[in-house]
Amino acid sequence: MEMAWVWTGMVTLSLVFGLLSGNLDAVANAALEGARSAIELSLSMAGILCLWSGVMEIMNACGLSAGLARLFRPLLRRLLPNACRDEETLAAVSANVSANLLGLGNAATPLGIRAARRMARGCGGVASNELCLLVVLNTASIQLLPATIASVRAAAGCAAPFDILPAVWLASALSVTAGLLAAWLLSHGRAER
């Protein structure tokens, strides 16, 4: 439901500001342009999505994802106890976390979606506490090597683009902790319906 509020708020604010600033033509064009760019983005990520779903399938078939799952089980069992009871969900979450740490955002999304789809089965369109936690974990960045940002810094003429790493790690750790804490507090505040 929150997304409904966010969406309505953004569209309505755009209308109001478009009227006030005389940008209404631009806003009207932007609406159509945005919808078009969604298809462009979908097409551009289609190949990557299929590729990493395929790699995940290979990893499942040859036992690599089971090994990965064993590695992450001690940590994930605490965060997502129900999801960890299902081997394949645990494998997908483990792969998702690994891809995030490696900074492979493009690979992390299909793997995380795989886990989310399994976790959402039989819940009638209502996100469980653990599914909320998985999504919050993915909205907070946990990458160890922010290669894209380093390349932007290098492009801006920075001599040591990776010198911000310790700062990125500290800020990431704090933001992930805050997200997990907020999810945990809110899930206890509101009963699961």
């Binding site: 478009g18 760019s37 690599l64 492979l104 920075c158 700062a167």
Partner: protein, 174 residues
């Protein structure tokens, strides 16, 4: 050569070699998984159309500039440089937009300035929150997202404040 260019090719070949060593039909598994990727894509498209339409309208309307000006004084209190307000507003909704705003900040303030560094750390310690939420819940068929949005935004806000804090801690300035 960039070290990060090594990750993807090495990963792909390592998985394939290992799988073949285990006598797995690697190619068959790859195409089978890719087929599943397509069905996932079909469920993501509607969510993306909704989200990107609103984001694009919002950016074109000038609301972003107004909100940035509105938030600037409050940011000073949190120790966040007010110059980064547009970045903080774009970051949760558009990855490419945030990259563009951050490059702009680095170009105008210098990549090794306080503002330039904070912008880079902000970019590195947060994600495209609403895009992630739309894609995950869209593909999983979830309508009631419950406490996900407030919790994710709490993480973002902490990440922004922590970025400014961490840069002051490691590099001084501000």
């Amino acid at each position: 050569m960039n070290l990060s260019s090594l990750v993807i090719p090495v990963l792909l070949s390592a998985v394939a070699v290992y799988g073949l060593g285990k006598r797995v039909d690697v190619y068959g598994a790859l195409t089978h998984g890719a087929e599943e990727g397509l069905t996932v894509l079909l469920r993501i498209v509607p969510a993306l159309v909704g989200l990107l339409t609103a984001v694009s309208m919002f950016r074109a309307s000038g609301a972003m500039e107004w909100l940035s000006a509105l938030f600037a004084p409050a940011l000073g209190l949190l120790g966040i440089p007010p110059e980064t307000a547009p970045l903080m507003l774009v970051r949760p909704v558009s990855g490419n937009g945030a990259l563009a705003v951050a490059s702009d900040l680095m170009a105008s303030h210098g990549p090794d300035s306080y503002v330039g560094r904070v912008a880079a750390v902000m970019l590195g310690s947060t994600e495209t929150t609403f895009y992630t939420i739309a894609v995950y819940f869209g593909s999983a068929g979830i309508h009631k997202t419950r406490h996900t949005v407030p919790a994710a935004l709490a993480a973002d806000l902490t990440g922004f404040a922590a970025a400014a804090l961490a840069v002051r801690l490691f590099f001084g300035g501000g």
